[in-house]
Symmetry: C2
Amino acid sequence: MTALQKLRKRTGELADLESVQMLLSWDQLVMMPPEGGRARSEQLGTLARLNHERARDEQLGEWLTEVEGAELGELERDIVRLARRDWERARRVPEELAAELARAAAEGQQRWQVAREADDFAMFAPALERNVELAREYGVRVAGEGLTPYEGLLGDFDFGLRADELRRMFGALAEALPPLVGEAERCSPQRTLDVPVAAQQGTVAGVLGRLGVDRSSWRVDVSAHPFTAWIGRGDTRLTTRYSDGNVESLLSSLHEYGHALYERQIDPALVRTNLGRGTSMSVHESQSKVWENHVARSAPFAELLAGELAAAGFSIAAEELHATMVGVKRSLIRVTADALTYPLHIILRFELELALIEGGLAVADLPGAWSEGVRRLLGLEVPSDALGSLQDVHWGAGTFGYFPSYALGCLIAAQLWEALERELGPRDEDLRRGEVDAIKTWLGERVHRHGRRLDTTELVESATGAPLSIDPFMRYVEPLAQPRP
Amino acid sequence: MTALQKLRKRTGELADLESVQMLLSWDQLVMMPPEGGRARSEQLGTLARLNHERARDEQLGEWLTEVEGAELGELERDIVRLARRDWERARRVPEELAAELARAAAEGQQRWQVAREADDFAMFAPALERNVELAREYGVRVAGEGLTPYEGLLGDFDFGLRADELRRMFGALAEALPPLVGEAERCSPQRTLDVPVAAQQGTVAGVLGRLGVDRSSWRVDVSAHPFTAWIGRGDTRLTTRYSDGNVESLLSSLHEYGHALYERQIDPALVRTNLGRGTSMSVHESQSKVWENHVARSAPFAELLAGELAAAGFSIAAEELHATMVGVKRSLIRVTADALTYPLHIILRFELELALIEGGLAVADLPGAWSEGVRRLLGLEVPSDALGSLQDVHWGAGTFGYFPSYALGCLIAAQLWEALERELGPRDEDLRRGEVDAIKTWLGERVHRHGRRLDTTELVESATGAPLSIDPFMRYVEPLAQPRP
C-alpha cells in the first residue's frame, strides 16, 4: 500500500471508531439497563484510548510527511490537510494528560451531580478547580502559535475561532438584546398550552414524516435529554421527550432533525474519511436552529403544526400556537430559554469560562460573578446555586469552550436563513404546506455537503456571501418585541 | 507497569472490544434501521481487525515470556495460561488469511441467501468450495501438534474436543435414537396449540419475571432469530419471537435465559480478564438446554406455564401443554426439531462437515450425501435443496466445527440435570412453584463461576463426577417414547 492508501485506511478506522463510540453513547442513554453503566464506562474508555493511540501514532506522521510532497487531487489535499491538523493536535496531548482529563471529568461530573442535588456550590468547587487547572494545561498545549489557551480549547469544537471576535459579537449582543426583552415579554401570551402527550406524539410523528423521517434509515426514540446520533450512512437516530403542558417536544424534535439532516447530506465521497462529519459545533447548532427558530417558530409552519395537532385530537388556533412558540419570558435556566434571551445565557457562560481559564477568576468567586452577570444581562436575581452556576453539566464534565457554539448557532442560522430566502424567495407557502425539499437542497448545497472541508467562518462566508455578523439575528428577534396583530 | 499488569490491561481491552462487538451485533439485529447495514459491516470489520491485531502482537508474546517465569497466584496462573493459548492460536493466522476468511464468509453468506431463495444448490457451490478450502487451511494452521484440521476448527468453539470422541458418541446416538422415534411420534399429540401472541407475551414476561429477569439489568426484545447478548455485568439482553399457533416463544425464551444466566453468574473476579466468559459453545448450549429441556419441558413446570397462560387469557390443561412441549415429530428442518430428533440433525451435519474438511467429500456431492443421511437417520426423503443442505447459514458464513456443540449441549445438560437432582433431590415441587433459586445456585457453583478456567470435558467431569456420556440423555429421551397416562 502507498502512504496515501495507508493514511486513508487509518482515517476510515478512526471514523469507524467514532461511529462506534456514538452508538455506545446512544445505547447508554436510550436502551441500556441502568446497571450496565459501569461496564459501559470501561468500554467507552477503551475505545477512547484506542482512538487516541491510533490518532497520534508515529507512523501516521511518517505517512503524512511522505504524501505531503506528492501530487494530490482536490479531495485528497483536504484529507491530508485535516489529517495533519488532527495529528498535530493529538500529538500535543501526552497520554497521561488525556487519561487525567478523562478521570477528572468523570469525577467532576459525579461531584457536580451530588452538589446540584444538595444545592451547594462548595461541594463542587474542588472538582471544578481541578477541571479548570487541567483544561488550562490542555489549552496551553493544543493552542498552537499565536493562540491563547482558551482559543486552544475552542479549537476542539470550532477550529479557527478567535476569542476577540467572540468578545466583539457577544459584547454587541449583550448591549442590543436586553432592551428588547421587557417589550417582548409584554407581547407574549401569559398562559402555557396544555397539549396532552399523546397529541404531541402524533404531531411529532406526523411532522417528522413530512420531513422525510422514515423507518428505513431513521430511529426516533425518547430520552431524558433530546439528542441526535449519526451511526452511519442510512442510520440516523434522534430522540425527543414529552411532558404534559408544553410544546417543547415540537421544537426539540425539529431542532434534532436539523442536526440529523446536516450529517445525512454530507457528500457521500467523504464517508469514512476524516472530512465526513459536521465541521464544527457552531455550524451544527446552526443547522438545528434553522429548523427550530426559522421553521418551527414561523407563523406559516404553525398552521401546519396546528393541523397536525388537530388530527391528533388537540384543537388550537395557529396564531395562538405561534404566539406561544415565539413567546419571551426571562428565566434563570438556559435549556428552557426562549429564542430571544437564549444567547444572553450563553454570553454569561462565555464571559465566565474565559475568566476562569485565562482571566484570573477564582472558582470560589464563581457564584458571585454568576449572580452579577444574570442581574446585568437578564435583570433577575439568582436565589440558589442549583438555579445558578450548578445548572449545566459542562464544566463539571471538563468541557470548556463549548458554550459559545450555542449562541453562534443562533447567529449563523439567522444569517443562512436570510441568504436562503434572498435567493429562493420567502418560504411561507412551502412551510404552510410542509414542503421542505427546496430548503433541504439549499442547505445541502451550501452547508452540508462540505463536511469538514470548510471551517466555520469560511463556510459561513461561502454559504451566505458575507462574514459572520449579528445583524441577521437582530433582524430575526426584533419583531418578537413588537405587538402582534 | 510490570509485564503482568500490561498483560492484564491488554486482556481487559480485548474483553471490552468483544463486548462492543456484541453490542453492535445486538443493535444490528434488534434496533438498527435497515439501511444502516453497510456502515455496520465496516464498523464490525474495523473492530475485528483491531481485536485480531492486538490479540497477536509481538509485545504480548514478550510479556508472556516474562511472566511465565514469575511466581503467580492461582487466578493469575489461569490468566497467563489462557493468554498463552489464545496468543499462540492468533499468531498462527496471518493477517491476510484472516482478512480472506472474513471476505469469503461475507460473500458466502450472501450467495447462500440467494441460492436458498432460488432453491438451487449449484448457485451456492462455488462459494462453499472456497469456504471449505479456506477453513481447511485455517484448520491446518491452528490445529497444533497431534490434532487434525477439523479438530483445529473445533478448537475455536470447544477447545480440547477430539473428533474420535465425537464420532464415538454421535455414532452411538445414531444407533440408539432412531428406534425411539416411531413410538414417540405415536405418543405425541396430533394438533398444535393455538395460543394467541398476546397470551404468549404475557406468559413469557411472567415466567421470566419469576426467574429474576427485571429492568434494572436485563432487556427482553423481539428479533427474527432469538439470541442472547451479554454486553457487560448488569447488562444482559435476550430476544425471542412470537407467532400465532405455537408455543415456541415459551421454549425459546427459557433457552435464551439459560445462556444469559451462565454469563451472569461467572465469578466477578474474572470480569475484564480473558477468563470472564463461557468456556465453550457446547457448555453454553448445555446451559440453554437445561432450561429448555429439563425445566420448560418438565411436567411440573407445565403447571406453572398453564397458570401463567390462564392469567394471560388462554386456558389449557397442564397435561395437554406438557404433551405438546415434549411431542416428537420428524421433520426436515433442524431449528424446529423436537428434543428427541434434534441431535440426529446435528449428527448429520457433523458427519458431512468432517467429510468436507478432511474426508474427501466433494462439495458437488453434498446434496446427495445429505439426502442419504436424512434417510438413514430420520427416515425422510429430502424434496429440495432449500429443505436440505441449504437450510443453515453456518457453512455459507464459513463456520465449520460449530454444529457439534448443539448436540453436545443436549448431552451435557442431561448429565448436569441428573447430577443436580441426585444431589438436591427431585426439583418437581420447586418447578411447580417457579422456585428456581436452588437450581441457579447449583449451576452457578458447578458450572458458571469458573468462566474459561475449565475446558469442556474437565468442567463436565468436575461438575458431575463423571466423564461426558450419552447415557443421561438417553434416560431423558426414553420416556418420550412411552405412552403417557
